[in-house]
Symmetry: C2
DNA sequence: GTCTATATCGCGATAGAC
DNA sequence: GTCTATCGCGATATAGAC
């Protein structure tokens, strides 16, 4: 194989998304990738190592695909587009969002790393909301209110798909748009041009 | 023991909350309860059976402890009190909220049951919000807006604690109050007496 | 109801040939 | 890099004595 290391990751991601990390053993992954268990252990120390690698792949994808236009100032519609792309990425790495609380508890170092990456993302996001307010797209707001709005939008972005799954709804485009509508509902009272 | 069946549940709940369902075997539970593995299997078919029983216990607790005053009309502060109690219950059954998406995927019958119970709870909640609007505590609103507000409050109630954990914050009373503040932020623009 | 003993299974992990 | 073979371990589950 050209790149066994990546093949293992791709296979693991597919199986984890389908069956959850608990139900998928290193043997299953090797089997699904068409390689021997020994070979898998040559490339990775074990399942936790593979999970860490998938987290890193998710971080990299997020950095790569989640960007605002640089040639002009951001608008509300730009943010909603970011959220759509984020929903897409979350779908590709579904197992991470399904099991995050569990996976992070089992791996303190990964938890720490995740907190840092997440904090950077959140900071950037909050700055965008602040910018919208100072640009006059949102009415002038207390700093405290801006933070609460950012927190709300962030929470929706992070857990809307989970909410759909728990309530037994499919992750259709329409369902994702309802998440976007909830976000719009949050900021609608503060828009200068409704 | 007076009631071995309940003792097993109590022990399992404690261990699941501490270590997660994956890390806790039936042997561990039996050990923690001070009984033999064989005895555990006399009372339950296995770990999935115990998990189902804990879900049912959670449903019962929720029914029992989550009630509005019947001697007068509900106010906004009543709802916030409901949310506080709900956070408390969620703390007691923490493993369910940490692993819900995973546990429900592994047990379709339980998933179905959870969807039904949850739907009933959500319906009741939505009616309360509708009532607040028709009582004039919230300004008169489109039905669609009422639904979105209910969805938002429900989402916050369900995932605020998870959000805290993912971002590495402790589940203190102060942190929970910040969740309540987010809810207030959502309805604040629609309050008739701010 | 509760125990002890045990059967079966599959996972994680490594050694050593190629 | 990749494979085959294999060991040790612990988990689930049951049988049978008390």
């Amino acid at each position: 194989m050209a790149d066994t290391k990546q093949l293992i990751l791709d296979t693991a991601l597919r199986l984890f998304n389908q069956q959850g990390t608990g139900a998928v053993s290193t043997n299953h992954i090797a089997d699904g990738a068409g390689i021997s268990p020994g070979n898998l252990y040559y490339h990775y120390r074990g399942k936790p190592d593979i999970i860490r690698a998938l987290f890193e792949q998710l971080f990299a994808q997020t950095d790569e695909r989640l960007n605002l236009p640089t040639d002009r100032l951001p608008m509300v519609s730009d943010i909603m587009m970011l959220v759509r792309i984020n929903f897409e990425i979350m779908g590709e790495y579904r197992f991470i969002y399904r099991e995050s609380l569990l996976l992070l508890r089992q791996d303190p170092a990964l938890h720490q790393r995740n907190i840092e990456v997440r904090a950077r993302g959140y900071e950037g996001f909050r700055e965008i909301i602040t910018a919208l307010s100072s640009m006059g797209i949102l009415v002038a707001l207390d700093a405290a209110v801006v933070v609460r709005l950012a927190d709300l939008l962030w929470l929706i972005g992070e857990f809307w798909l989970s909410s759909l799954e728990v309530s037994g709804q499919d992750l259709t485009d329409e369902a994702m748009e309802r998440g976007i509508e909830l976000m719009m509902q949050v900021i609608q009272p503060y828009l200068t041009t409704p």
